[in-house]
């Protein structure tokens, strides 16, 4: 091996390790890890299972909201949510049929929603405005119409 190759490989290895360290630090120290909730549900009995028997938005603290939401072809339930600016919203999601995606365009909210699994993701909305929520996993013929909005006032 030439010296320049050794340098190159050391840099390459260093870069990979740097990625690992930063990812690990963010995941475990800053708790910025990707959505990985571990609860299960019977996908054929979503409507009868708490909390999904009552989907909707609920205030759980000062400036803190919980949104219990089901995803199904080709809609979200509830649709068109409104929250005041500066509030933290905890989304609890599951699918009633196929695999869906839950993305709020322009934010880092992006999660897969699988039938049989309850997914959770949290976002703080500081900027007032209208946010587009969309399904980003192909779910069928009407996939492109599966969207709703979150209005931050």
């Amino acid at each position: 091996m030439h010296l320049d190759e050794k340098i190159w490989l050391t840099l390459s290895f260093g870069m990979i390790m740097a990625f690992m360290v930063i990812t690990g630090y963010q995941t475990f120290a800053l708790e910025m890890g990707p959505p990985s909730n571990n609860e299960l549900i019977d996908p054929q009995k979503v409507d009868e299972t708490a909390p999904f028997n009552e989907p909707g938005i609920k205030q759980i603290g000062e400036n803190e909201y919980e949104v219990v939401m089901t995803l199904q072809v080709f809609s979200f339930n509830p649709m068109d949510i409104e929250v005041p600016a500066g509030s933290t919203v905890h989304f609890t999601l599951t699918s009633k049929d196929v695999v869906h995606g839950f993305e709020i365009a322009g934010t880092n909210v992006n999660a897969m929603v699988m039938p049989g699994h309850i997914q959770k993701i949290t976002q703080k909305f500081d900027e007032p405005g209208k946010y587009l929520v969309l399904c980003n996993e192909y779910c069928g013929a009407g996939h492109q119409v599966m969207s709703t909005t979150i209005t931050v006032k």
Binding site: H2, I16, N38, M112, V113, K120, L132
Partner: protein, 565 residues
């Protein structure tokens, strides 16, 4: 030509003579020709469908009622990712095996044909339900979306076909080694071995998914399916598949390109180490497709970030190797200064130009790949157009442009014809059009993806939301890119069939570069494929036992099949 180590000279001298006298045997050539013909027909069809998609998403074309966007998208993915790449890889490596191992054995030829027809039948079975709009499930076919059972039977047959071809390759390699005791496998055959090992390893996962989970479920023998397990098995295959096409391209970079530019190959030992590393670490990389899935704990996801990033290391070694070879060759041709060697490269030769652009594209493509396999960064781009941009860079440029470059000598070689200067010029033009098209498209896709535009979504403005989010101009650019690409596809397909049937007769060289003289002998350890396969299996076991056991033991009640299109 350079002088080689004495032993190599004897071998290559004999080989050159044999080639000049015999060329490739007609029967072996026919196998490769058939595979390449299918590959490029798939390219034409896939490219056409790609244009329809591009125009649709640009908002310029409304598809007729009988033609669903998602149907086209499914066909586009399967034609290009499964058919084009696989058929080209097989055609190329079988030609390579035939050339470097002194011809295919008669029984291997037979196996290759059985494999060919199995794959074709499988492919027809896949296409019929897609045409009937019974299988618009994408090439990833995530349950609980259920296509017509015929679709899955077709996939299973395609896998069986791959196994035949892998078996054929292994038999031929074993036969050669028996007759060449203690010698290193010729480098191209070495790459082929690695590729076929990976193909078997990767398709084993999808075979389990399709045969034991999806088929009984789609036929109604069992009521429900474990969605997460199916998805995990798919990605163990799906990600590896694209990496196999990449490894095929890499083989041309290491073995063929140095010869085309009149140089020598990079260090033989390191080359083989790169191949082995890519084989061992590849299958475990598939997990980064599930970074934002529920049901997988954070430590497991974190460990799989490492498994995915690890593949980056041999790729970075490759990047070094390529530039080292270019630089060395340039200096031999009296290049001056630090970058003088750039001028000495044969830019007008399509056999070099196209793969070179492919390599250059791999720099941003690889960087994007590192982004996607890193937990938090992936969360920003997962399932957006960014991903589509990424695999158009990796597959559409790095892999396919290498394949195009290869076709300009491989097709004449197996057809006993030559590449005329006129055809070379056409190839250069084609390369430039393709490059411009791909750059426009990939750049727009990456950018739109960063803004949040979702992938795999038919034209929609989300109630005029898309314009306020600024996606529309980029999606229009995708349409422009797609148009340019189809022009390039048509030229390319014309070139291939022209070189196959109409170009002037003559002999074309199979360009395989020699090693540098006075290079240290490669340790024999690299040839012990049995050991490498076991190491690969252990690595796979380590990576997959943990999440799979959890998904199976802590499974939710399963899902019934759905047809949602």
């Amino acid at each position: 030509m350079q002088t080689s180590v004495s032993q190599n000279k004897v071998v290559s001298g004999f080989k050159d003579k044999a080639n000049k006298a015999l060329g490739i045997s007609r029967q072996d050539a026919l196998i490769s020709k058939s595979y390449l013909a299918v590959a490029f027909i798939a390219l034409l069809l896939g490219g056409l469908l790609g244009l329809l998609q591009g125009l649709n998403r640009a908002g310029l074309l409304e598809l007729p009622a009988w033609l669903n966007y998602y149907q086209i998208l499914t066909a586009h993915g399967i034609l290009l990712v499964v058919v084009l790449s696989a058929f080209f890889t097989i055609g190329y490596f079988y030609a390579g095996l035939s050339h470097t191992l002194g011809g295919l054995l008669p029984k291997v030829r037979k196996i290759a044909w059985i494999g060919f027809w199995t794959k074709i039948v499988g492919f027809v079975l896949v296409v019929i339900p897609i045409l009937m709009n019974e299988a618009s499930v994408m090439y990833t076919f995530y349950p609980p979306m259920a296509a017509h059972p015929m679709f899955y039977f077709g996939l299973a047959l395609i896998v069986v076909g791959v196994w035949f071809l892998a078996a054929g390759a292994f038999i031929n390699v074993a036969h050669w080694r028996k007759n060449h005791k203690g010698e290193h496998l010729p480098i191209l055959a070495f790459f082929a071995t690695g590729v076929f090992v990976l193909l078997v390893g990767a398709t084993a996962f999808v075979a389990v998914e399709v045969l034991f989970m999806i088929i009984p479920w789609s036929l109604g023998w069992v009521d429900t399916i474990n969605v997460m397990v199916a998805r995990t098995l798919f990605w163990a295959f799906g990600h590896t598949a694209v990496n196999i096409w990449y490894l095929t391209a890499v083989s041309a970079w290491y073995v063929v390109i140095p010869k085309v530019i009149g140089g020598t190959r990079f260090n033989d030992y390191l080359t083989r180490v790169v191949v082995i590393a890519l084989v061992i670490m590849n299958i475990t990389g598939g997990f980064h497709h599930q970074i934002i899935d529920p049901g997988i704990s954070l430590p497991i996801k974190f460990m799989h970030v490492f498994m995915s990033l690890a593949i980056g290391f041999p790729s970075l070694m490759t990047a070094y190797a390529m530039f080292r070879v270019f630089e060395r060759t340039g200096r031999r041709k009296d290049a001056k200064g630090a970058l003088g060697w750039i001028k000495k490269l044969p830019w007008g030769d399509v056999r070099f130009l196209s793969p070179f652009i492919a390599m250059a594209a791999f720099a941003p493509a690889g960087a994007g790949g590192i982004v996607q396999s890193t937990n938090q960064l992936d969360q920003v781009v997962h399932n957006t157009m960014w991903i589509v941009g990424h695999f158009h860079l990796t597959l559409g440029m790095s892999v396919i442009m290498t394949f195009f470059g290869v076709s300009y000598w491989l097709v004449p070689y197996i057809s006993n014809r030559v590449l005329t200067p006129k055809m070379n010029k056409l190839g250069v033009i084609q390369t430039i059009i393709w490059t411009i098209g791909m750059v426009i498209m990939a750049f727009s896709m990456h950018t739109a993806g960063l803004f949040g535009a979702p992938r795999r979504t038919s034209y929609t403005t989300y109630g005029d939301f898309s314009s306020s989010l600024g996606w529309d101009p980029y999606m229009a650019a995708v349409g422009v890119g797609a148009t340019l690409l189809l022009v390039a596809v048509i030229i390319q397909v014309y070139a291939v069939f022209n070189m196959m049937f109409f170009a002037p007769k003559g002999t074309t060289e199979f360009p395989i570069a020699e090693v540098e003289e006075n290079e240290a002998k490669t340790p024999y350890m690299t040839e012990r494929w049995g050991v490498w396969v076991v190491v690969m299996l252990i690595v796979i076991a380590m990576a997959y036992v943990l999440p799979l056991t959890d998904m199976i033991v802590n499974a939710p009640p399963g899902s019934p099949p759905f047809k949602t299109w």
